[in-house]
Symmetry: C2
Subunit: 197 residues, 2 copies
Amino acid sequence: MEIFGDSISGNCLKVKWTADLLGVDYRWVETSVLTGATRTPAFLAMSPAGQVPLLRFDDGRTLAQSNAIILHFAEGSRLIPNDGFLRAKMLEWLFWEQYSHEPYVAVARFQLHYLGKAASDLEPKIVERGKAALKLLDDALLNRDFLVGGALSLADVALVAYTRVADEGGFALADYPAVERWIAGVEDALGILDGNP
Amino acid sequence: MEIFGDSISGNCLKVKWTADLLGVDYRWVETSVLTGATRTPAFLAMSPAGQVPLLRFDDGRTLAQSNAIILHFAEGSRLIPNDGFLRAKMLEWLFWEQYSHEPYVAVARFQLHYLGKAASDLEPKIVERGKAALKLLDDALLNRDFLVGGALSLADVALVAYTRVADEGGFALADYPAVERWIAGVEDALGILDGNP
């Protein structure tokens, strides 16, 4: 199968990390959001929403949405808790990530780090809600190594993707010590090397 | 168990409809977002994100995020496809709903219908992306009665919640005939009566 993804995108990296950790066999097709590669007619024919990551199976069927793709890869694996309540809490984090974290933490980073916007030109709502998301994460991680249960799950994979580069969006990770400790642990569990995407 | 929800919120109604359809036993605790009931210290202690719907189990544990709650209720039921690929497509729609539909279609409705904003004062991005979401839905539903496979699934439940009241957000549902037909079918399958939330 093929994964169409942009290596600067945490949403895409989640998918890569999950596939690598679980030994999924795939070909990575680098697809840049900055050069318009996700807006070509050929790409839109595969992905009407024009978003990466996109998974294409060998028979041509496609699957979009980063968290749907990692849930598909991880089905039956140790990255999804067996316990029904913990599994539901993991899903709670995945939906929270896309609704209350990514639209602020990732969008601030994209605008500052990739579009060259000045920090003072960010929409105040983005900064305020990004900080609120990081604070909520910090509170949740105060006495835990992982977000759900006692082990790495998709919740950590999904949330670490943009949290670990939040500094690039003008957020000071040093203000969230439990988050910083958790990032190091999740990076270690995922085999993410410093300086590597 | 208790469901804390606001009857004006599609996110909350999704949870109610799913529970009712599956015969889940619960007590509904009406919790208004307009009167600040989701911002009280007591509510925030249960739900740090301050969001409804919130499910509280009898032992006090809680679960937030509408789509995580309906996935929990529906586990093993006919509302989740057995086939792995179809199940993944259903999840794709659930994440798309929270990222690309709700923040525009539901937010426009809340601002116009509940906060009394004028249509001309809506952020243009909200209108534009709401229309794009409805167009994408219309295209997807052109030759189908339900979003995934040939039967009602959580994808329909989640998407119909705010789509059916999109007119209240200034979107003209008449412009999306496949969507209108699908709404009628899903309302029928869910037993939603006209004029009833």
